[in-house]
């Protein structure tokens, strides 16, 4: 069997995500996959997707919603499986991107050792975490990506712990490129995926992904919720090069925090104190600003 990449004339069936899939209405992952495809342009990736909504997206055998070769890995293993694929492709002179597409459970929690090890070895892959701040596939349990205060089925009185700083953890690995992605900032999103595509080594992209089912929000409002999360400063858009050079892409624009939390029952039902979140935002920005001043990318 020939394994060399044939010249591709793309049709919709060659898209990373084909039309027709099982994602919930308003799932941020769908748009994220389309933009990933757009940014990769003619470069066709190999995907590794661990246990998460992202693999349910494929649908049932023998059909698949993924138009590129995709390995469904065990929950904690996507960076290890992608390591094997990437190493073998490269030694055969094949430069296709190898992309892990994983949720926050697979990234922040069960897969963090595997992820850390692949980052430490600087394996040649792009790791995208679509962070919906919840175990969405199992029906909405807390993860270490769930924000403080939020109600989930396993934090019924509101989560006591803070959200883990995954970008900080990945930057500490001194990987070539790490960036946050917003589904409300298309140009910024595509630019960052293209930078990741053109960079060698381990690249980490963190996308805040609206989950109407878990966030108890209106499906149609997902993109606006992300715009609001960026605007109020809760989800900063920034890049870290080599783990040491910071660039902030968008500053808080005065969008009120309330317009973010009032539209999500995971916040309102738990009666999360807005001051708690404001404190989190201000600490986060104090840290980011200090890093960007001390280690500017430009």
């Amino acid at each position: 069997m020939s394994t060399a990449m044939a010249p591709v004339s793309k049709t919709h069936c060659d898209n990373v995500l084909r039309p027709g899939n099982t994602n919930c209405a308003g799932c941020g992952m769908s748009l994220g996959l389309h933009w990933l495809d757009e940014a990769l342009s003619e470069e066709r990736p190999f995907m590794v997707i661990p246990a998460c909504c992202g693999i349910v997206t494929a649908g049932a055998f023998p059909t698949t919603a993924y138009g590129v070769p995709t390995a469904a890995s065990t929950f904690a293993s996507s960076p290890a499986v992608a390591t094997g694929i990437s190493q073998i492709l490269r030694m055969n002179g094949e430069e296709n991107p190898v992309i892990c597409w994983a949720g926050d459970g697979g990234t922040y929690d069960i897969g963090i050792a595997t992820l850390s090890a692949a980052a430490e070895r600087n394996e040649d892959m792009i790791y995208v975490c679509y962070d919906n701040e919840i175990y969405g596939n199992t029906g909405g349990q807390r993860s270490s990506a769930t924000p403080e205060g939020v109600r989930t089925s396993t934090s019924p009185r509101g989560k006591v712990e803070q959200k883990k700083d995954m970008m900080g953890i990945m930057a500490a690995h001194r990987i070539p490129y790490a960036a946050t992605l917003s589904l409300a900032h298309r140009d910024d999103f595509l630019r960052k995926v293209r930078i990741a595509r053109e960079t060698k080594g381990f690249r980490f992209l963190l996308m805040l992904s609206p989950c109407p089912t878990g966030w108890k929000s209106e499906p149609a409002e997902g993109i606006d919720l992300i715009r609001t999360a960026v605007g109020c400063g809760l989800f900063p858009l920034y890049e870290v090069y080599e783990g040491l050079r910071y660039r902030i892409n968008a500053r808080p624009d005065g969008t009120p925090l309330e317009s973010y939390i009032s539209r999500q029952k995971r916040y309102t039902a738990a009666k999360v104190d807005p001051q708690l979140i404001r404190n989190f935002i201000s600490e986060q920005w104090r840290y980011l600003d200090a890093m960007a001043r001390a280690f500017p990318a430009d």
Partner: protein
Amino acid sequence: MGRELVTGNYAAGYTLALAGEANRSGRGCGAGAYPITPQTEIVEYLRGFEFTKGAVVPVESEHSAMGVCIGAALAGARSFTASSSNGLAYMTENVFAAGYYRLPIVMIAVNRTLGPPWNIWVDQGDSLALRDAAWLQFYTESHQELVDTILLAFRVGEDPRVLLPVMVAEDGFVTSHTQMIVDLPEQELVDRYLPPCRVPHQLTHARPTTVGGLTWPKETTHHRHEIQEAMERVPEVLAEAINEFEQVFGRRPHGALSAEYTDDAQTVLIACNTMTRTLRRVVEERRARGEKIGLIMQKMFRPFPRQELLRAVTQAQRVGVLDRNYSPGSGGIMWTEIAATLQHRPDILVQDYLVGLGGGDVTPQDISAIVDELQSRQTAGDPVWKEVAA
């Protein structure tokens, strides 16, 4: 290389490396490497070997070691690793994944007691716990058998009629850390014996599939049944692989089992790995005294060689199983499989003996006492524990 005095682990590392190197004309080789006593020297050897086209990735856990093997095999490469005991237990999820993905990965399992309490010595319970993972399993009684079986493992596992991963077990310390004179093969011969590895469901843009996604119950049953059909083809493929092995290397490794002195044997004892060598000495001494006694070295455990076993006990009245493993609440794992096979021979008394658990020495005197016990029995009973304080 020729004949060398080497440890079991050296022999295993050397053979894996040659098998990996033999795929340089194909898509190369990939391995995940993670240390655990008494396996560590194998991954050290692999990390030190300079492959023409290969990557041995120093991962952070056994779970990821098998993850890297899965990725490498999905990319079309020959793939292998080694582990032991709690490492195998930690790796378990991906061991099953490799089997169910139908990837012909080869893994050396250096048998060691599972902890806690912590114990580094030999016990086959670690690899036997993985008997349901859709892997072929071979147990080896000597360094030479280990080397030869590793080569057979690649040949059989990668055969398109089988396409399953293969575990090759050796005894911790007794094999892994002792030295024997071994005929170590030359690269040229391994190149002849192992054609380039082909994984038909390799990930490719020519035919983009999602490997390992969701299946409904009907498709899942079909998938399991296909694995069973592949397992049933193993004896035929193994026989061919042994014949070809003899042509290339000039010696003949054992098949699924080695039945010795069983033609007229009324008493047959069954063991695996190095304990077989002690058993053989006892059997030969007793035969010299005129006893009709024989032995079976159980080499293949998956697929379980039912027909071969039944053929080897034609004249038997009593069968004793020496289990260096223990399934709590049941007994020896080999015994339960052997007893299930011998349901076709209700005239045979099948008795289990739990010996050498946790790496305890099993001496010729111990085995001789077991033979006496077995021969004095009128009925089979619960598994007999050796060396349990009253």
